[in-house]
């Protein structure tokens, strides 16, 4: 499956792009990834990613998924999504520069523009963060 370039799927731009690519989409599930660069916006003094960087990465992974669906439906500009709620977020470890985050998004149903989703982020096989989230999507 060839998926569009990330800039076609999410409206965020540098310095706060927190997804490199959408890797796969299967039904209500998508995979996205980010290799953390040393100059990532959320890197802290100790060289590790701040926890909200993981939240933003999961949100943008979901945004890329929603952007892909919009793209298939013919949208030419990626829709803008806002985080409405973060629930049951856990950070097990702050990843470091050079590591690649692999995130699985399970998208729930959309009700009046609000979508409930679950995200899990791993480095290799290690779960580093997970959360539930509500995203409010605004059509571009």
């Amino acid at each position: 499956m060839t998926l569009p370039d990330i800039k076609q799927l999410i409206p965020q731009r540098e310095p706060i792009m927190m997804v490199d690519q959408l890797d796969a989409v299967e039904g209500d599930m998508a995979k996205a990834s980010l290799t953390i660069r040393a100059d990532n916006y959320f890197i802290e003094e100790d060289g590790l990613l701040a926890e909200p960087g993981l939240i933003e990465h999961i949100a943008q992974s979901a945004s890329a998924f929603a952007g892909y669906r919009a793209f298939l439906a013919g949208a030419t500009v990626p829709p803008i999504g806002y985080i409405g709620e973060v629930k049951r977020f856990r950070c097990y470890r702050r990843p470091q520069a050079g590591e690649t985050l692999h995130t699985i998004i399970h998208m729930g149903t959309e009700v009046e523009g609000i979508t409930l989703l679950k995200g899990e982020t791993r480095v290799a096989d290690e779960l580093v963060a997970e959360t539930q989230m509500k995203i409010f999507m605004k059509k571009a």
Binding site: P11, F42, I43, P52, F89
Partner: protein, 123 residues
């Protein structure tokens, strides 16, 4: 390196007691994050508001803190540096085991509630 203080926000006033703190905060429209969130449409990233809350917690207790878990964080109204250039942040905490705090916080101004937060941080 992320340091939102004096880039994303500036503390204009702070009051503090044993288990809480209150901040008056200016949101800075020239912060570079708005170049990307979103181009031509500056919106405060929810993740930055959470990081700002963490930095303010550090300011209040004078120690480095880590976000272990967020029970619930509701971003009830969209915040932008134009529509809410000045906001208040209220933080309350209580010990939740060794080296751990349970935190309740809200970000608001006289018109709107922007964020309601419940979670645990460790030192």
């Amino acid at each position: 390196m992320i340091k939102l203080k004096d880039n994303y926000y500036r503390i204009k006033q702070m009051q503090q007691d044993a288990d809480g703190a209150w901040f008056r905060i200016a949101l800075l429209p020239d912060c570079e994050v708005y170049q990307g969130h979103f181009p031509g449409n500056p919106v405060c990233p929810g993740a930055c508001n959470i990081e700002m809350l963490k930095e303010c917690m550090q300011e209040a207790i004078g120690e480095r803190v880590y976000i272990e878990s967020i029970k619930q964080c509701r971003l009830t109204t969209m915040a932008t540096p134009d529509t809410c250039p000045e906001v208040e942040l209220k933080l309350e905490w209580k010990p939740a085991g060794e080296d751990r705090f349970s935190i309740v916080a809200s970000l608001f101004d006289s018109n709107n509630l922007y964020m309601e937060y419940k979670g645990e941080m460790s030192v």
